[in-house]
Amino acid sequence: MNDTARERILGRLRKAVGQERTLPAVPPPPETPPLSRDDKIERLNTLMTAMRSEVHLVPRDAWVEKLKAILQEKGLTQMIYAPGTPIGDAVAAAWSEGEGGLPALRPYEQAVESFKEELFAIDAGITGTAGAVAETGALILWPDETEPRLISLVPAVHIAVLDADRIYDTLDEAVEKGGWAEGMPTNALLVSGPSKTADIELVLAFGVHGPKALVVLVLT
């Protein structure tokens, strides 16, 4: 029955558009002068901060120390990470049991079905990023088999580590230069801040379903 529904719908559509069709050309995106590396960092920082993200610019070799300081200040109890990713492995290597005020590290190693209860009790998660978009101020996340999707969604605090060399000017550029059309991952995400809503009287409130806080460490 479903096959015939398909045929009937497609039949109507084919008849509706006919054979002779003149397709309008899509005008190209506007030519804008490329932003410098510093400008891209600056714009991303400004826009994401305006969306209530906590953005920190840190030297490449000092980010783990900065991370520890942030976590100690926030007083979080458990942090989930993805073993086998550069970020996850760097964190695991730098953690020592019972270090003052740091959250306990929890690896995301098994399928969610056997891990869900624990996952929903964890209050922080750390991920890498596949870049960012300066124009609109958003991180690009491409979760995969080593870095699961829920790390950036379920815990109340999401910490994302971004390589400043991977900031694109625009999403158009990211899609084109990143060759997205040649192979999209299971899930690609843009994330521009902590979860928010304005559904009650248009009052902006943060942390409605997803993370209440988004911490971005930009490695310069």
Binding site: I9, V17, L23, V26, F120, D199, I200, E201, V208, G210
Partner: protein, 480 residues
């Protein structure tokens, strides 16, 4: 938790009565005035560079027109790519068929609890009511949708569904409908109540259901746009994800997404980008640790294919459901969404509803426009909404029209009047008599008969005692 779904309102649709009721609701009018003013200001601030906005709009328009002209091929390509990626594609001609497909998937999994992201197509399907009738809990998780579902209402706005309510009303709803919930009017606390209630539901949800903002034929990717994170929860936590989509939402290429995204979020909420843009291309792959193991895409027609043949009316299908025409409409901002009586309110509803539901039931809806053109000016994909409203008004009277229910308003008296008008204006002698009569009887006309209604809120036209022809003749000017 107590949730009830919208009861089917079997009363015949009476637009005028709805409008009068809405206009009398001072709370509604003040809520709308504040909210729409705020949303239009945010949008204006974002698109402050007119030239850049017009260029972006031209791109959006071309992308959507290209997609509609290739709709059958793009849907086949989307189906092929999705299938390759492991997504199961279903086709539904009607909302009943789409509901049955959803139910079939739920039954295959023995599922009784569905967590739902915001979807206007699911509103078309009246999905919550259908699933409720089959003993399945279908829970809205977008905050605005959650609020109105608790009150057994439907969305009054495409983007901010609970905009007709103020925080006192919401506080009362939460206090009364959610167990152990103290009364609070603090918005942050209301949000926290929703977060706590729904988190458990995401955790327990057996199937997640969502809409689709656009689907990319080139890669078989479903794009979902949101701020809250409930959409990501619904499409990532439960083991099964069902996406419902109107067949017109497909685009050709991935490179079409960035401009449409800018237009959508900018027009809808004045945002450069939403908190989350969620692009889904497949179910969980081997080795991945989370995400649904099954993803289903339901392609719903529900009358869309009958809108496509007419080159003018086809433009209705360019819509990306940003809702900005509602915010800018002087009629919508005074009566709100419920008065329109159908799923899509405001200017887009005025052109979409009659084509989906038939003019025989809905011919009053296109009359609710001042033709001020605001909707056309702000439309991110340049739909000439006022033109299409005029076309549908004509269709209401046209026995030879093409839209379902055309000619419904045609009546003998009116037809006779216009026939007489045409006759009088073709024959000089009749015209002379006619203008003289108008001068004599004209002044009393609007106070009697069907025209009395017309002049209640308009200036009464004054007929000249003498016609222009007479005056010219008196001046000695020949009209030969």
């Amino acid at each position: 938790m107590e949730t009830k779904d919208t009861k089917r309102v079997e009363k015949p649709f009476d637009f005028k009565a709805n409008v009068i009721k809405a206009l009398g609701n001072r709370q509604l009018r003040s809520n709308l005035k504040f909210a729409m003013g705020s949303m239009t200001a945010k949008r204006k601030a974002l698109f402050s560079d007119t030239a850049a906005f017009e260029a972006l709009r031209a791109r959006g328009n071309a992308i959507r027109r290209r997609a509609l002209l290739q709709l059958p091929e793009l849907l086949e390509q989307l189906e092929r790519k999705c299938t390759e990626n492991g997504i199961t594609v279903h086709w539904a001609e009607t909302t009943d068929a789409a509901n049955e497909i959803v139910l079939g998937i739920l039954r295959d999994h023995g599922a009784t609890r569905v967590v739902k992201g915001k979807s206007m197509v699911s509103e078309e399907m009246h999905l919550n009511r259908f699933l409720g009738d089959h003993g399945i809990e279908s829970l809205e998780t977008d905050l605005g949708e959650f609020i109105i579902q608790l009150d057994g209402e439907t969305p009054s706005h495409i983007i901010v569904p609970a905009i007709h309510k103020n925080k006192q009303e919401i506080a009362r709803t939460f206090h009364e409908k959610l167990p152990d919930t103290p009364y609070t009017e603090v918005v942050e606390e209301l949000n926290a109540i929703a977060r706590k209630t729904l988190r458990k539901k995401f955790y327990e949800g057996e199937v997640g259901l969502s809409g689709v903002n656009m689907a990319v034929a080139e890669t078989g990717t479903l794009c979902l746009v949101e701020n809250e994170g409930n959409g990501r929860m619904c499409t990532t936590v439960p083991p099964v994800h069902i996406a419902v989509m109107g067949i017109e939402k497909v685009v050709e290429k991935l490179s079409d997404v960035p401009p449409l995204l800018r237009l959508l979020t900018g027009s809808a909420t004045g945002q450069l980008v939403t908190t989350y843009v969620n692009m889904i291309t497949s179910p969980r792959k081997p080795g991945e640790k989370d995400g649904p193991r099954e993803v289903h895409l339901i392609l719903l027609d529900n009358g869309r294919s009958t809108i496509l043949p007419d080159e003018k009316l086809r433009q209705t299908l360019q819509c990306i459901r940003c809702g900005t025409c509602l915010n800018h409409c002087p009629v919508y901002t005074r009566i709100g969404g419920h008065a329109y009586g159908f799923v899509y309110p405001g200017p887009i509803g005025k052109i979409l509803t009659p084509q989906m539901e038939g003019l025989d039931r809905t011919s009053a809806i296109p009359t609710a426009s001042t033709l001020c053109n605001a909707c056309e000016e702000v439309c991110p994909v340049q739909i000439p909404i006022p033109d299409l409203i005029r076309r549908l008004r004509n269709e209401s009277y046209d026995p030879d029209g093409s839209v379902c229910g055309h000619g419904v308003k045609r009546n003998l008296a009116e037809t006779a009047v216009w026939k007489a008008w045409a006759l009088v204006n073709r024959h000089r002698a009749l015209n002379a008599v006619g203008t003289r009569m108008a001068g004599i009887f004209g002044p009393m006309l609007p106070r009697i008969g069907p025209l009395a209604e017309w002049t209640r809120s308009r200036n009464r036209p004054e007929f000249a005692r003498k016609s222009l022809h007479d005056m010219a003749r008196e001046e000695g000017i020949s009209d030969e």
